[in-house]
């Protein structure tokens, strides 16, 4: 089976396994945290969003070490073994962006989009996700009680919208709804305009996983000796990484597109 087909099968299987919680179908509600971004407010959610547990652990000046460490250890365990492969092979939002990425790839051909994509500020924009993680998940939760999940676009997509569809007329919007709707629209625009735009710039769970790429067992390796720098790999990379020059790049989601794309088969998955 081709690598990208394997990845698609993995993403679909994990999407379904993340949604085994719908009452009666089969109603499996566990006490695990997802190692990726998915909302426990989804009527079919099997587990908890790691960010919700983190927010709760530092709610308004309190500190519950169990709820703080638990999602970090789950993410850490997978991070050490597979690095950020979770983003590329398991995350349902990654699967969504795989679909929207086709449009984003066409947009990338426009000169303006290309210019923006290669602008020097782009690499700094990638730090936004770390800022969001620290400020909106930890700092505001600790100091003022405002939490990221109140305005989370992924929560809106996987929680709010399914609940509204499954219970027509049973719910009305609350105070946060309009803010979350605006952010959700921006999120949709982003993933259609920039390939893997959410993963690149804003995903706080990606920010938690990213540092583990530096020490993960599984990583991508490029044989630079024979590389002719044709840059096909970099062009194919959905995360916009300069593949030949990357060394355990925190942005790499180990999707393997570069592995499949390299005409000389110089890029491979390494297990150590």
């Amino acid at each position: 089976m081709k690598l990208q087909l394997k990845r698609l099968v993995s993403q679909i299987i994990l999407f379904f396994s993340a949604n085994l919680g719908y009452p009666g179908y089969p109603g499996l509600k566990t006490g695990f945290c997802y190692p990726f971004f998915y909302c426990q407010a989804c009527p079919a959610a099997t587990s908890a969003c790691p960010l919700r547990s983190l927010e709760q652990s530092v709610d308004k000046g309190s500190f519950t070490w169990r709820l703080f460490l638990y999602p970090l250890l789950i993410i850490g365990f997978l991070g050490i073994v597979t690095g950020r492969a979770v983003c590329g092979w398991a995350c349902p939002i990654g699967l969504l962006q795989r679909v929207t990425g086709r449009v984003a790839r066409k947009v990338k051909k426009f000169p303006l989009a290309r210019k923006l994509g290669t602008h020097k500020i782009e690499k700094y924009l990638r730090y936004t996700k770390y800022v969001i993680l620290i400020s909106l998940v930890f700092v505001t939760s600790y100091l003022i009680g405002f939490i990221f999940t109140d305005i989370c676009p992924v929560g809106f997509l996987t929680g709010t919208i399914p609940v509204l569809i499954l219970n027509p007329g049973k719910f009305v919007p609350n105070f946060f709804f309009s803010f979350a709707l605006v952010i959700f629209i921006l999120f949709i625009a982003l993933i259609f305009l920039v390939e893997r735009g959410w993963c690149r710039y804003f995903c706080p769970v990606g920010a938690l996983l990213a540092p583990f790429n530096k020490i993960s067992f599984l990583h991508i390796s490029v044989d630079l000796k024979d590389c002719v720098h044709c840059n096909v790999c970099s062009y194919e990379c959905p995360m916009g990484i300069d593949v030949p020059n990357m060394n355990r790049d925190p942005e790499c989601i180990l999707c393997g597109k570069c592995v499949s794309a390299c005409p000389n088969e110089l890029i491979s998955f390494e297990r150590r």
Binding site: K29, G31, R66, S141, D150, T160, F171, N174
Partner: protein, 213 residues
């Protein structure tokens, strides 16, 4: 290279060991399941349920009333306040309830008090689902008449007359009461005052026939 591999192995052993220890020796799995996965934080959902604040005899799934509610019902109507950590809606309602019964307590406390309301007694029970017992937590399902299972949630249990018998009768409210037309703290307070007043009236009409009395 060998040093790096040793570092990887050490990191993996440390993380997997810590995770295994947490599963084995702490209640974190149950905490996450009962406090996050099973209960909806309505403000995280960005929605409020559209329900009616009418009193009913039928509990959710026809479950029996919990013993602690029946015991407290001999003093007066029982007001159950379900709240949780990191819940914006709960934070909105917290001061309203404190003002309603003129009481003070910590958000993470387990609090139970017989409070005076318009010269009558109301048994007030505060339940933060993240810092409570299974008995109190499980009672939320019993009074979840609209099958929302979210926080914040408020239940008022009083007495009613049904087919020749006096029985516990209750209503449950959800969220920040927006769907009941209360959008400001003052309106929330007035709405709850009226509802608690109504429950006291029902209680006083029926208490003589209540077998626990």
């Amino acid at each position: 290279m060998k040093k790096f591999f040793a570092l990887q192995v050490c990191a993996l052993v440390l993380v997997s060991g810590s995770l295994g220890t947490m599963f084995a020796f702490t209640p974190v799995y149950d905490e996450v399941r009962s406090g996050i996965v099973l209960v909806l934080c309505l403000s995280c959902l960005k929605l409020e349920p559209k329900t009616i604040a009418d009193f009913t005899f039928e509990t959710a799934n026809n479950a029996p009333h919990p013993e602690f509610v029946l015991e407290n019902l001999s003093h007066g109507p029982v007001f159950l306040h379900y709240s949780g950590d990191a819940c914006a809606g709960c934070d909105v309602m917290y001061p309203v309830i404190q003002e309603l019964f003129s009481i003070e307590f910590g958000k993470q406390d387990m609090f139970h008090s017989l409070v005076s309301f318009e010269n009558s007694t109301v048994a007030y029970i505060y339940v933060n689902i993240h810092h409570t017992t299974d008995v109190l937590r499980n009672a939320q399902r019993i009074y979840d008449k609209d099958y929302i299972f979210g926080i914040p949630m408020f239940t008022i249990v009083t007495l009613g007359y049904d087919n020749g018998k006096v029985k516990p009768k209750y209503t449950t409210l959800y969220g920040t009461l927006t769907t009941y037309g209360a959008t400001t703290d003052e309106q929330r307070l007035v709405f709850l005052q009226q509802l608690v007043g109504e429950s006291i009236e029902m209680y006083e009409q029926n208490e003589a026939g209540y077998p626990h009395h």
